[in-house]
Point group: C2
Chain length 334, copies 2
Amino acid sequence: MHIVVDAFGGDNAPLAPLKGAALAAGDGVTVTLVGNEEILRRVAKEENISLDGITIVHTEDVIAMEDEPRTILKAHKDCSMAVGLRMVAEGKGDAFVSAGSTGALVMGATFFVKRIKGVPRAAIATLIPTASGRPSLMLDSGANAECRPEMLCQFAQMGSVYMSRVMGGGEPATVGLINIGTEECKGGELQQQAYRLIQESGVNFVGNVESREVPFGAADVLVTDGFTGNILLKAIEGTAGMLMKEIKSLFMSNLLTKIAALLVKSKIGVLKSRMSTSEHGGAPILGVCRPVIKAHGNSDAAAIRSAIRIAGEFAATGVIEAITEAAKGSTSDE
Amino acid sequence: MHIVVDAFGGDNAPLAPLKGAALAAGDGVTVTLVGNEEILRRVAKEENISLDGITIVHTEDVIAMEDEPRTILKAHKDCSMAVGLRMVAEGKGDAFVSAGSTGALVMGATFFVKRIKGVPRAAIATLIPTASGRPSLMLDSGANAECRPEMLCQFAQMGSVYMSRVMGGGEPATVGLINIGTEECKGGELQQQAYRLIQESGVNFVGNVESREVPFGAADVLVTDGFTGNILLKAIEGTAGMLMKEIKSLFMSNLLTKIAALLVKSKIGVLKSRMSTSEHGGAPILGVCRPVIKAHGNSDAAAIRSAIRIAGEFAATGVIEAITEAAKGSTSDE
């Protein structure tokens, strides 16, 4: 398996992608790092990171978080992300991984890698940690603020294929529609029409899911528009972040609570890492012709290694072929 | 102050409303309980609850959580909620409190109490506990799944008046628009247009607020459509509920963690009650001509007492007069 990695994407670039790539190379993966070769060789030397099994493709430009996503098509068409995407599009690599700007990655994937025929919009699918230990895949989580019912139905199909093949060992995935109540009549036009379309689409549909149930693992795949998905995802992140902070400060209040902290420290650490998004490897961009994985912006080396592993599984399990097959029946191409 | 209370609304009715009313009567409030008099007198006797300062208005019917909200207008027009709303509409009481069905309460408030002229839709405003210790008021949190930009602007104005007068001691309230990014251009048509309208409306607008910041207390008033509000509210509830459960089970794992639990028990209790919605008294239905407060469905006696106190402050602080004045300039009446 040959994975192309954006060496200059994310908060911890280029060190985390470099270290992550070295770890993946150690796992037997062929890795190409895209980015400024001089800097990469210097950092590798300074940090004593082996470049065995790693090829570097040189490019100088980088697209930043604050750059407009569409600049990847013109002003930043030779940034590390764009060059990597085009490599994978041309078959020079099996999958692409970047921890850079999500908007730019969706834009670049759509225009350089291209959408699958019959898929009107690519979606970002994000893994949400749950109490059940098994993460849920939510799509769309921000690429398309406004969606039509047919798009939600296609998200259901794409997510179902991905979760079943990449995360579920072939077991059929359950699919839920994010809504403000469980009854079929709930929500607006979008939800009501999407409900009927998903019900007839052949996926393992469990019906509407209220956001309250999401952290408990209500379904393997959670379908929603990008606006709602983004609100939901960040609400979970924010609430968990706030509570963890409150609990930390609670443990620091006096000597007795500090003793208590020592007694539960390792278990709190396990809970924190279970709740962390970086443990779960990265979010696929679904609906484009080649495997593209978005790693979390704050990914460390372990998260990049995990994203590279997931990218390999994404490429190996025929997800894109299955989505292409399913989309053939679709009439919703633009 | 004279508060009318639905004695048969909520999961713990009639005991919690009865006890809560008795506590409020002890605080010096005149309370009318609406519901089956025979049952109320029997329960009061069995539980040794004093009915001093409490009047009972007898009615036999009750609207249940599973009843369609609109049935309050016809099939259940004589339920305890409907009778109480009509009393307050007719001036037989200063405010109404119910822990019953939210949908039915909004429907009943809209048709029995009537909307303020110039307000196209009533909104449910919910208090969200935050890390800052000062709750945020979010509206709409579920009454109107689909909203127009003018409605969001009116929610901003109504919420601002309520938070400033009832919760803020007259200090101007900050107002944020729930969105998927902080920049003005973020979100769909609804958010972009609402942004401009709110900016020109004269409220203390702090701009877009991402859901991630909500648990930290991003603004006093959070404006959004009812679909997004409901998703956000339940995501916060679900995540907090899940984490508290995980932490509880973590403390139960072995002898050492059980000792740790004893050392931090009281502080965890304080955190839990700070995060609890029932501590904050109840959610106003804004946009109707008389004060109506929705208490949480699982309200206990203390929560009902607190809702009665808030209902009194709502009635005493001229909120409805100020909203009526602000709505006069509006052209968005239906």
